[in-house]
Symmetry: C2
Subunit: 160 residues, 2 copies
DNA sequence: ACAAACAGGACCGGAGGGGTCCGCTTAGTC
DNA sequence: GACTAAGCGGACCCCTCCGGTCCTGTTTGT
């Protein structure tokens, strides 16, 4: 299902919340505002801070503050900050030793183009797009979508 | 890391192998040819058959055969057949009850555009592209890549 | 009738991720 | 200068999911 981690979802929630004012906001405050348990918020914010998406202010009256505005933050940046670099399979470039029978394998590193395509798509969407998406419902997908060739199979057609 | 399941990787291997001749090929045969353990090959082929990517011939002298040629099969079709419909988070359309505090949550279903973008990117790449990719190494990414804006952060720059 | 192959499950073990907690450091405040 | 409110870094556990295997039908050529 290509599921991305739930922490990334939380990260987006936190970032959007963080964008509502440019004052510093404490992790407990964000926790109560969003309903996400406080230790989890803390963990997410720590990851985002080390990823350079937010800046932290230590000490009393400390908290977190956005580093860039939402339309400067790509979704791929959030995913990278939380889940590490995007690597679809264990056999992408790097991590050479991970695969058994890699001399026989006929797809040595062929996922790389797919990987890059996804990264491109994710880099083209910013968090501002995402929050806009929920307001203008059923909007027609900002970036050029590379010609989605409508649904080859899957009779259930669960679009998600 | 946006990891996709290893079974999908195997599926691509199997499909590419299956394309080498249009005769039916048995699951044990493919297993020995690719080095993938036989029960796993069987499972993958079953999923692909139910997804409509291969057709099966039962009985003695049975086996599997490709239904479409490789350049007619999008990567998204393979992923959908193996891993089910692509759903980045638990909170995409459908599966309404899965999320706690969904009335508070400010990103209700905002992953949908991201989801569709990925699906578009994945639908634009066919298996033929993938096998071509490994031959013409470092090829410049067939589909228009929506302007990947080069690497905001991550000093390590692990591209994969 | 036999054998070879697929079909459709059940089943199990390990890895990974969500979630929590604790001790330490920093910096405002009184 | 002491206190306190926050972040920082890491260790930790538990649960879920996935990879991998196996077994019992069912089909079909020989
Ligand atoms: S599956 Fe790893 S190199 Fe092919
Ligand atoms: S996180 Fe599930 S609806 Fe927002």
């Amino acid at each position: 299902m290509l599921r991305l981690s739930k922490l990334t979802d939380y990260a987006v929630v936190v970032l959007v919340r963080l964008a509502r004012c440019d004052e510093v906001q404490t992790a407990p405050g964000i926790a109560t505002a969003t309903g996400i348990p406080e230790p989890t918020v803390s963990k997410v914010l720590k990851a985002l801070a080390s990823g350079g998406l937010v800046v932290s202010q230590r000490g009393a009256r400390g908290g977190y503050r956005l580093m860039r505005s939402l339309n400067e933050v790509a979704v791929s940046a959030v995913i990278t900050a939380i889940d590490g670099p995007i690597a679809l399979t264990a056999c992408v470039e790097g991590s050479v030793g991970g695969c058994e029978a890699e001399n026989l394998c006929p797809v040595r590193g062929r996922w790389d183009p797919v990987n890059e395509a996804i990264q491109s798509a994710l880099s083209a969407i910013t968090l501002a797009d995402m929050q806009e998406a929920a307001m203008v419902r059923s909007f027609p997908l900002v970036l050029e979508p590379a010609r989605l060739e409508s649904s080859r199979l899957d009779p259930t057609r669960a679009v998600s």
